[in-house]
């Protein structure tokens, strides 16, 4: 629970900090930041020379698949993937089996995360019972058990009356509703973005208009209800415009974009690789450029992974038949650093803001900052390093970047002052050996 991270470049947008400094964590909390800090007796040190030291990444959109789909991912493997990618907190989506629509499911997730998770796990409760879109789940009970937000993610809430009720009810609970925005009729049977490439490939496409229609509807419902809306995985020009307008009118609307929508377009689907099939689908270059603009101007609050593991057997089928979703926790920072920072679209501090500070603030979670007194959640990343994504800690490997080597390397991930991922070549921490990544599994928080 006590740890000194020395000699790094501390980048913390929450306090406008970008300078060489040491970070001392005591009792799981950040105690001090400053130059030349000394490790108290018996406190281990991570030498972060040449690395950035940032508040641990926070993912607002993770599918951990447990309970019920443990062949795809478990809370243990999913959180191991998270810390390998520099994440210290993940929000677990509700579409498990059974879905997280009742207190016992939430309690099970919280308990399993305590027992076997290696980072913080915040459950997201279902908006509707059974994700069926018909009646509200017991949202207050779910909130009491630890849910931080509500979503039927994977499915849009097609019934406007139910969405209105969800926004109103969640407002009373001080929690946002996360919306997967898609007009179910327009997207019927679709497996990719509707455009030139769906025409070329003869595949059924989902038009951008479908996302824009539901995003606009929900913004109008925010106006009606005073509720809090968080738009998941924004991917189209029109949806971005709608959110931008809503923000300019002061409505309580936030949104996220995924690394894959920022980095890739539907052109890539010509390979028919099922690791490029997700929902919303990869859009055209014009939509991707609009996302980059929206990241620059601050319309996009958060980068979230939509980490969606699927077993290789499920993905090794015809494109039409494969399930939607790609994993993202391990690659997210590397991909975003390459596409956003190396390209000089945004500065490093802004990336940290998008992946840590603002996500934490958006759902009102601990972390996202290294201010003294806050959670000792830290990622140490070597920007000059490289990571070969030959294999994954996630139980699934449905990544568009499988087999690729990307710049940046996570050197260590610290959750509550405990090293949960150690990417250093050999145990080099003073005092005693630190758990290697594989051994970190058994570690307790």
């Amino acid at each position: 629970m006590n740890l000194l991270i020395s000699n790094g470049r501390v980048v913390d947008p929450s306090q406008n900090l970008d300078r060489a400094a040491d970070v001392l964590i005591e009792d799981g909390l950040v105690a001090k930041i400053g130059p030349g800090l000394k490790a108290p007796k018996g406190v281990a040190t991570i030498d972060a020379a040449g690395c950035i030291v940032i508040p641990g990444l926070v993912d607002l959109h993770t599918h951990l698949r447990e309970p019920g789909q443990e062949h795809k991912e478990t809370i243990r493997t999913g959180t191991e993937a998270a810390v390998a990618g520099g994440y210290t907190s993940v929000c677990a989506m509700a579409n498990t089996t059974p879905p997280n629509d009742e207190r016992p499911v939430t309690e099970m997730i919280v308990a399993e995360a305590q027992r076997n998770g290696v980072c913080r796990v915040y459950p997201i409760g279902a908006v509707s019972k059974g994700l069926a879109g018909l009646e509200l789940s017991e949202m207050a009970d779910l909130r009491g058990a630890g849910c931080v937000a509500f979503s039927d993610d994977g499915k849009p809430v097609t019934n406007s009356k139910l969405m209105r009720a969800a926004l109103e009810y969640a407002r009373m609970l001080g929690a946002p509703v996360i919306a997967h925005e898609e007009d179910a009729f327009l997207a019927e049977g679709a497996v990719m973005h509707e455009g030139y490439y769906s025409t070329l490939l003869g595949m059924k496409g989902a038009p951008a208009a479908g996302e824009e229609i539901l995003t606009s509807r929900d913004i109008h419902l925010v106006e009606l209800t005073g509720g809090r809306l968080h738009v998941a995985h924004l991917s189209t020009v029109g949806a971005i415009e709608a959110v931008r307008r809503a923000k300019s009118r002061g409505l309580a609307v936030t949104c996220e974009a995924t690394p894959h929508h920022i980095a890739l377009t539907d052109e890539a689907v010509q390979s028919f690789s099922t690791d490029l099939k997700m929902n919303p689908p990869l859009r055209s270059e014009a939509h991707r450029r609009a996302l980059l603009e929206a990241i620059k101007d601050g319309t996009i609050d958060v980068i979230a992974t939509d980490h969606a593991p699927h077993h290789p057997d499920e993905k090794r089928v015809e494109f039409d038949l494969a399930p939607f979703g790609v994993i993202g926790l391990e690659t997210a920072f590397a991909v975003c650093h390459e596409v956003l920072v190396k390209s000089k679209t945004i500065k490093l501090a802004q990336l940290v803001d998008l992946m840590s500070t603002r996500p934490a603030r958006t759902f009102n979670l601990p972390g996202g900052t290294l201010k003294p007194g806050s959670a000792g959640d830290v990622a140490v990343i070597d920007l000059d390093g490289a990571t070969e994504f030959a294999s994954f800690r996630s139980r699934s490997h449905n990544s568009p970047w499988r087999g690729r080597t990307l710049g940046t390397r996570v050197v260590a991930t610290v959750v509550g002052g405990v090293v949960r991922f150690d990417g250093r070549p050999s145990p080099a921490v003073e005092g005693k050996s630190r758990p290697q990544a594989a051994r970190a599994r058994g570690a307790r928080r």
Binding site: E194, G195, Y196, L201, G202, P207, F272, F319, D320
Partner: protein
């Protein structure tokens, strides 16, 4: 127009899109030579003797399957055809498993028809056998486009500059996609006509003219290619009724008068008489529909021969 290529670059024929104009000409020129085989009293050459060709038809087909089988037999290949019904596919076997099991029996070529786009490519990436796409969803149907081109070339002596109008269910048609690739590569002029509900997004980027009027499409056309209304794929939101479809886009002898003198009418089949084409046209003097079918055998013989490593022989 003689081809410059003497062999195909790929082991597979997955579509027209990856082919060069020279490869297309090579296939068409090779087919010329094979057409004569079908006119002999003994319609067989020993070219593919000892080679095993499996026809994997996971979706209904009459014309294409029979045509491939005849082409294979005329080349003396050992052939075996099977369809999804009555096979392990009905027991839930995946396409990859089916294909790997077939591969274990060491075929030299697999001809595949499948309802999902990209499935021939899946097999081609995985198996050493030559894969021939006999239609994958609404993606490609390369041998159909080749036989259409063969038929057009036969009638007009060329493809470049020929005005081809393709009319009907563009959205669901693999035939149209392969034809657009082929005809634009060979410098023909392509016009598409359909109600907007049957016209897929941004298809004009493929280098074609898009209109929504049959008369406009027929004006100045040398080739009128009618596409089948795929009744099984229509929802009630694509057009109001078959009656209205026929009244707006159905080809009749009167409307065909707008086409150029000497225009030909084609249809990849199967036809819905009275829906996209009247019987007067289908059976009329301009129709080359049955010649297309005849030419299909020669074109498929050429494809099989070239993929087996054959070269164009100057005779």
């Amino acid at each position: 127009m003689r081809s410059q290529a003497t062999a195909l670059r790929s082991k597979d024929l997955l579509g027209i899109e990856p082919l060069s104009p020279e490869e297309i000409s090579l296939i068409l020129d090779t087919a010329e030579g094979f057409r004569e085989v079908s006119e002999r009293p003994i319609k067989k050459v020993p070219t593919l003797r000892g080679q095993l060709v499996i026809n994997l038809f996971m979706e209904a087909s009459t014309r294409t399957r029979v045509s491939f089988e005849i082409a294979e037999k005329r080349l003396s290949a050992d052939t075996l055809s099977f369809s999804a019904s009555g096979s392990s596919v009905e027991k839930g076997e995946t396409l990859i498993d089916t294909a790997q099991n077939l591969m274990a029996m060491q075929p030299d070529m697999i001809v595949i028809r499948h309802r999902h786009p990209g499935s021939p490519k899946m097999l081609a990436d995985l198996l050493p056998a030559s894969i021939i796409n006999a239609g994958d969803g609404a993606h490609e149907h390369p041998t159909q486009a080749l036989l259409d081109a063969f038929t057009i070339r036969e009638k007009f002596g060329r493809l470049a500059g020929v005005n081809v109008s393709i009319i009907g269910d563009i959205a669901h048609s693999r035939v149209v996609r392969s034809n657009i690739h082929l005809l634009t590569k060979m410098k023909a002029n392509v016009t598409l006509a359909a109600p907007p509900t049957l016209m897929p997004a941004e298809i004009e980027k493929m280098g074609v003219r898009v209109v929504h009027s049959l008369d406009e499409a027929l004006e100045g056309a040398d080739v009128v290619m009618m596409l089948r209304i795929q009744l099984e794929r229509q929802s009630k939101t694509t057009f109001p009724s078959l009656r209205e479809y026929f009244n707006t886009f159905g080809l009749t002898p009167e409307r065909l008068r707008r086409a150029n003198d000497g225009a030909i009418v084609m249809h990849p089949g199967p036809m819905n008489r009275g829906v996209e084409i009247s019987s007067d046209v289908a059976d009329g003097p301009y129709s080359v529909i049955l010649e297309q079918v005849t030419n299909g055998v020669a074109v498929r013989m050429a494809v099989l021969y070239l993929l087996a490593g054959g070269h164009l022989q100057e005779s």
